[in-house]
């Protein structure tokens, strides 16, 4: 069989599968889109109720509590700076895109990770899929998302979830897999029921790894959310994309600075949460 013909047939099959899905799954995709957008709007408008200075103070207090007072001041100042650059609502939108996506990534990834942690066989099937997701260039995921969900934040969230799920699955699985063998035996030898063994033995040992997974997931999400500016995600990603198209270098630099500030704040706070969970 001719290989080029085969490849052409394959591409055609993919195309027709896509159009079949858009034709027949319209209602489903509309529902997903509506749900994602509604959720995103809810979180964003909720956070925007706070004036910028109150949000900066709250974030500063959280950072001060987990990282010390210097970090607290830097956090509050950084967020105030975003406001000074007149990018406050975009910053909040980006933050919400990330939080919503990572929340969904955790909801999807944690159960899979727990299963994979308990069953090495399942791990062996999941791992190649995760490898594939992580090796493909991230903006690939915008294509099916935009085909099914159209232009807007729903697409951005869907693509971001795909990118931020693998670290959750991997590190949750790792956490549950790496309970020291003597503690697994302790559970068995004391006649501990499986539910208690999960909550009281496996979970405490898995927590540091789970938190590291959340941190990784957040970082992946930040990367993707900016790329998703192309599909009308809203937030700083779209600001940068617009500024690049108009060659507005000043604006793109400002937005980039805002992203860096936001990323560092979220990274440090979530990292310290991971460190606090580490058993001595």
């Amino acid at each position: 069989m001719d290989l080029t013909a085969f490849i052409k047939d394959f591409d055609k099959a993919i195309d027709s599968a896509m159009s079949w899905a858009t034709d027949h799954g319209g209602l489903l995709f509309d529902l997903v889109r509506a749900a994602l957008e509604r959720f995103f709007d809810l979180v964003t408008s909720g956070l925007l109720l706070l004036p910028y200075w109150a949000a900066a103070l709250v974030a500063g207090a959280i950072a001060a509590r987990s990282l010390g007072w210097k970090a607290g001041i830097a956090t509050a100042a950084g967020l105030a700076f975003c406001q000074m650059m007149d990018l406050w609502s975009e910053t909040v939108e980006t933050m919400c895109l990330v939080l919503v996506s990572v929340l969904l990534a955790i909801l999807i990834g944690a159960p899979l990770g727990i299963l994979a942690g308990y069953r090495p066989r399942l791990s062996q099937t999941i791992d190649p899929v995760l490898d594939l997701i992580q090796t493909l260039p991230p903006y690939i995921y915008l294509l099916p998302s935009i085909a099914f969900l159209g232009y807007g934040p729903a697409t951005a969230i869907a693509a971001t979830v795909i990118v931020s799920v693998p670290p959750v699955i991997r590190l949750v699985a790792h956490g549950f897999r790496s309970t020291p063998v003597e503690f697994v035996e302790l559970g068995e030898a004391t006649g501990t029921a499986p539910r208690d063994a999960f909550l009281k033995i496996r979970l405490p040992f898995a927590l540091p790894s789970i938190m590291a997974g959340v941190n990784q997931s957040l970082m992946m999400a930040f990367g993707m959310v900016v790329i998703a500016g192309i599909v009308g995600s809203g937030g700083l990603g779209e600001t940068i994309y617009g500024a690049v198209r108009k060659l507005d270098i000043a604006l793109s630099v400002n937005a980039a600075i805002a992203i860096v500030i936001l990323t560092i704040i979220i990274d440090r706070i979530s990292q310290s949460a991971a460190a606090h969970r580490r058993p001595a």
Partner: protein
């Protein structure tokens, strides 16, 4: 339905062979007497436990001594079915545990058989008290009750003042005491000890050995104690089993093993053991008829269980250089300086019928 004579644990011809072709391997071990290495090359199987049988009596501390890889830890885990036997059966209080349902097995482990681990396995995020109460907690005992029981268990091991500390604040010896408290808090009849003191320094180890023995006896518990250290086995055990390549090559009291090693392997082990408190008059005496230096009636009397240390004193004090050994008024033998030296050296053939 258990009376005093039913052993708490009985192992009947138990085998554990790891690997997919375990059954074939066992069959050919029986037919062709294959060794460990042949089984590995022919079947790709590892022999963990090789036809082990023993019984743990009520109130007894049974030590299983063997080097690493001898199968002692595997054997211990067969007793509470952490590992399933390939063949043979294990009875706990007369009941075969192979057939227990999941719930029955959990119940057995929660209430009847406790376990203490080599690396203690204290959960680092819990306090000493919470760790000691772990078994009670997963049995669903109310908080106040388990606090009371665990506090009591901790004060029995001398840690009454450490309840709210975390494991990392405790020394290795203290951590192992918490492990022991956790096991006794659930009030099991049997405690399985998996080399609990191996990682401790010698002084602390000796202290814990003595405390463990005293505590077990005072609580009326029974224990199977795994160790790679013959001194420890002798110090703690009422009876000792020596394991090699998965098989129990000798079972007996410390004195029996030291005086009559079953083979060269055991003999090499016991060669370095001090016999002075271990060997008793019954093992070092000669028949009364062989003693002709003086009428036996003129000799000082002692019992069969006088140890060599005591015998040395008696023999030195005697004008005839000898002491008569009797039981219930019957003369059983005579110990002289010569028989003592032979007993200490270890090639003395004990008189027939001696204990």
């Amino acid at each position: 339905m258990t009376d005093a004579d039913t052993p708490l644990i009985e192992c009947r011809n138990v085998w554990k062979v790891f690997g997919e072709r375990a059954r074939e391997a066992i069959a050919s071990i029986r037919e062709r007497h294959l060794g460990k290495r042949e089984v590995l090359t022919e079947f790709g199987c590892v022999v963990g436990v090789h036809d082990a049988s023993f019984a743990l009596k009520k109130g007894e501390i049974f030590c299983i001594m063997g080097l690493s890889g001898s199968g002692k830890s595997t054997l211990l885990r067969l007793l509470n079915r952490l590992i399933e036997p390939s063949l043979g059966e294990v009875l706990v209080k007369g009941r075969a545990i192979n057939g227990l349902s999941k719930t029955e097995l959990r119940d057995l482990r929660a209430r009847t058989i406790g376990m203490v681990f080599q690396n203690v396995a204290l959960i680092p995020t819990r306090t000493v008290l919470e760790n000691a109460a772990f078994g009670l907690e997963v049995q669903g005992i109310p908080a106040a009750e388990r606090r009371r029981i665990a506090t009591d268990a901790l004060s029995r091991v001398g840690l009454g003042d450490w309840l709210d500390r975390y494991p990392r604040e405790l020394s290795g010896g203290m951590q192992q005491r918490v492990g022991l408290a956790r096991a006794i808090a659930a009030d099991p009849e049997i405690i399985l000890m998996d080399e609990p003191f191996s990682a401790l320094d010698p002084l602390i180890r000796r202290q814990l050995q003595d405390e463990f023995r005293a505590l077990t006896k005072s609580l009326g518990k029974s224990a199977v104690f795994i160790t790679h250290d013959l001194d420890e086995a002798i110090r703690i055990g009422d009876r000792i089993a020596i394991m090699k390549d998965g098989a129990m090559i000798q079972v007996g009291t410390a004195e029996e093993i030291v005086m009559n090693p079953a083979d060269q392997y055991v003999a090499d082990f016991v060669a370095g053991i001090s016999r002075i408190h271990l060997v008793k008059a019954g093992s070092v005496m000669m028949p009364p008829a062989d003693f002709t230096d003086a009428p036996t009636a003129a000799l000082e009397q002692t019992g069969l269980d006088a140890d060599i240390d005591a015998l040395i004193h008696l023999v030195l004090a005697s004008p005839h250089g000898a002491v008569a050994v009797s039981e219930d008024g019957d003369l059983r033998g005579v110990v002289t300086a010569r028989t003592l030296l032979e007993g200490l050296k270890g090639d003395h053939a004990p008189v027939a019928g001696a204990a």
